[in-house]
């Protein structure tokens, strides 16, 4: 009886998530374009719904809501469906759409999309070999195999994104990095842009006139096509067309210049806006957050380095440790266990919410979720871990932590380098007299 109630609760929540995903798809992602293929939308909403239910189940797990066995059953079922969609349907449809866009293969698109999918599966399987994720107990086609592979890809992606985000976020919010932009700078650039456009126009007018006179005189100027055409153009070339190619080259160079100027002007406008924004209350608030966040990011990078260098794996969750440190420092009587349970639950909630938001912005959905589950395990106290371990099987979690740290570090360092170069390059152009 209770199983029925639980199931109905799960199903209603799934339908809710489905509707939400559908709406989000329509409003945000495809605001300016009309969706022709409804299949895509359905798949997106279904994946989104099932992913959200997975998170829901974790929350239920912590809170102890619903019957334990029914939870277990739903968990297993959810996992199966998600993996099915992720590994079978999505790549197949992606392949199908790619193939149907190529006009040559239009007739046998089904056949070619199957071929593409098989190639994908092959590489997917191969991916598992270099990593120490197989424990000899399990067979070939078990769930653990699929999860481990999906997990690897997901963890890599997430580490890449969070590495970049950890560096980019403080850079964007902190006003220390904002260059000073005045109105005269912008006007000067705009004038240069318009001048370049005028030069392009005058050259094109000359070209059009030359072409017209050539046409009227009977010399037909057609581009040399094919082999013989090229040979002919080497030997016989009218003076008019030579002129034209020269001017065409100049025009190409000028057009490139105009594009650069346009982008620079847009950049200056954006910087000016950010400067004005930083003077408002909201701007100051975000600025402050930016400083905070940057310290946190630096700490994370530092921890990742230490983990790798000293070959250590995070066993205790940071919240408990943080509270322990504060308690010892302040000397207050505190029931650490009791509070840590609640605080870690809140932390998991925040991670879930930000994960959802992050996921809705990037589109690496399903893998992101599965790997999030794997990593959330790291930040939960020991008691809760047993359940997840039981469901997902022995998956060598330590490996994932190490892998995440490595990729995170690499991604963060490379994005620091990249941003530094970009930052350096820009002011040199503007400070020219």
């Amino acid at each position: 009886m209770s199983f029925l109630i639980d199931s109905s609760i799960m199903i209603t929540s799934q339908i809710l998530f489905f509707g939400f995903g559908w709406l989000f798809f329509m409003r945000q992602l495809f605001k300016d374009y009309e969706v022709r293929q409804y299949v895509v939308q359905v798949i997106f909403s279904v994946t989104f719904a099932f992913s959200c239910t997975m998170f829901e189940l974790i929350i239920f797990e912590i809170l102890g809501v619903l019957n334990s066995s029914s939870r277990y059953f739903h968990w297993k079922m959810n996992l199966c469906v998600i993996l099915l969609i992720l590994v079978f349907m999505v790549p197949f449809y992606i392949g199908y759409f790619i193939v149907s866009n190529i006009r040559l293969l239009h007739k046998q698109r089904l056949l070619f999309s199957c071929l593409l999918w098989l190639t994908f599966m092959y590489f997917f399987w191969k991916l598992g070999d270099p990593f120490p994720i197989l424990s000899p107990k399990h067979g070939i086609l078990s769930i653990e195999q699929l999860i481990s592979r999906v997990g690897v890809i997901g963890v890599t992606l997430m580490a890449l994104l969070s590495g970049f985000g950890a560096v980019n976020c403080p850079y964007t919010y902190m006003s220390y990095f904002l260059r000073n932009v005045t109105d005269t700078d912008i006007l000067a650039l705009e004038r240069r842009l318009l001048q370049t456009m005028d030069m392009i126009i005058s050259k094109k007018k000359r070209m059009a006139m030359t072409r017209r006179t050539m046409f009227q005189k009977g010399e037909v100027h057609n581009r040399p096509s094919g082999f013989w055409g090229m040979i002919k153009s080497v030997t016989t070339s009218a003076p008019g067309s030579e002129n034209l190619t020269l001017i065409q080259q100049e025009v190409d160079a000028l057009e490139e210049l105009s594009r650069q100027l346009f982008l620079e002007t847009a950049d200056l406008y954006a910087t000016k806006e950010r400067i004005e924004y930083s003077k408002t209350f909201k701007g100051k608030y975000f600025n402050f957050l930016g400083y905070f966040f940057s310290i946190y990011c630096v700490w994370k990078i530092f921890m990742a380095t230490i983990n790798i260098v000293f070959d250590r794996v995070g066993k205790t969750d940071p919240v408990t440790r943080g509270i322990e440190i504060t308690v010892n420092y302040l000397g207050i009587q505190f029931d650490v266990k009791f509070w840590s349970q609640h605080i870690s639950f809140i932390l998991v909630g925040i991670i879930i919410v930000t994960s959802i938001r992050g996921l809705l912005i990037t589109l690496t959905k399903g893998m992101y979720f599965v790997s999030s589950v794997l990593l959330i395990r790291m930040s939960m106290p020991l008691e809760y871990r047993t359940i997840i371990t039981e469901v997902l099987g022995e998956l060598q979690f330590n490996f994932y932590h190490r892998w995440f740290d490595v990729i995170f570090l690499v991604s963060a360092l490379s994005s620091i380098l990249f941003l530094y170069l970009a930052h350096k390059q820009a002011p040199e152009k503007h400070m020219a007299p």
């Binding site: 009309e34 842009l193 456009m197 094109k204 070209m207 059009a208 346009f262 982008l263 847009a266 406008y269």
Partner: protein, 207 residues
């Protein structure tokens, strides 16, 4: 207007509707082989004989300014685009016949271009709502062009064309529907070419 013998026409529309292909077709009478995304603004020039066949015939250059981007761009991009909207003599609005949203966005495009240029006589509607009265006293001639006609299936053609006719009426503009990969549509003597030259004449009269 500003300089002598200078006629400036803006070509506006959403990303990917085919403005660059259209401009290339109009100016070079050739189909654009490798269309790529337009950054900023690309200009091309079309030669036009005003009052052809009469003793007052004179050759003018029409500059077609193909401005890239979308209506939903960041305001910094919009401010940068605004520099191109100065002293405009005519506007060509391009939309994709296979994509309804691009037709709806044309209202916002026209508002963006016209608000820049209009002498503030009346109340400017700034929340993007379309107000027909704004176009009533608009002196700048408009032309609405629908592209990718070849991708519309035969039986849907009628309803699509009725919809675009309403659109053109709203703007008080002439309308042309074509396919930029086929130069036949703008061949001399076709109805489209006649409409085009008609619009150009109006352009010169107002100028």
């Amino acid at each position: 207007m500003a300089s002598l013998d200078r006629v400036k026409v803006l070509v506006l529309g959403d990303s990917g509707v085919g403005k660059s292909s259209l401009v290339h077709l109009l100016c070079q009478n050739q189909v654009l082989g490798n269309p790529s995304w337009t950054v900023g603004c690309s200009v091309d020039v079309r030669v036009h004989d005003y009052k052809e066949g009469t003793p007052e015939e004179k050759t003018y250059y029409i500059e077609l300014w193909d401005v890239g981007g979308s209506v939903g761009s960041a305001s910094s991009v919009k401010s940068t685009r605004a520099v191109f909207y100065n002293s405009v003599n005519g506007i060509i609005l391009v939309h994709d016949l296979t994509n309804k949203k691009s037709s709806q966005n044309l209202y916002r495009w026209s508002l963006e271009a016209l608000n820049r240029d209009l002498v503030p006589t009346g109340v400017l509607v700034t929340n993007g709502d379309y107000d027909r009265e704004q176009f009533a006293d608009n002196q700048i001639p408009l032309l609405v062009i629908g592209t990718k006609l070849d991708q519309i299936h035969e039986n849907k053609r009628h309803e699509v064309l009725t919809r675009t006719a309403f659109l053109a009426e709203d703007f008080n503009a002439e309308e042309i529907n074509l396919d930029c990969t086929n130069p036949r549509y703008l061949a001399a003597g076709s109805s489209n070419a006649v409409k085009l030259s008609h619009r150009e004449e109006i352009l010169f009269k107002r100028w």
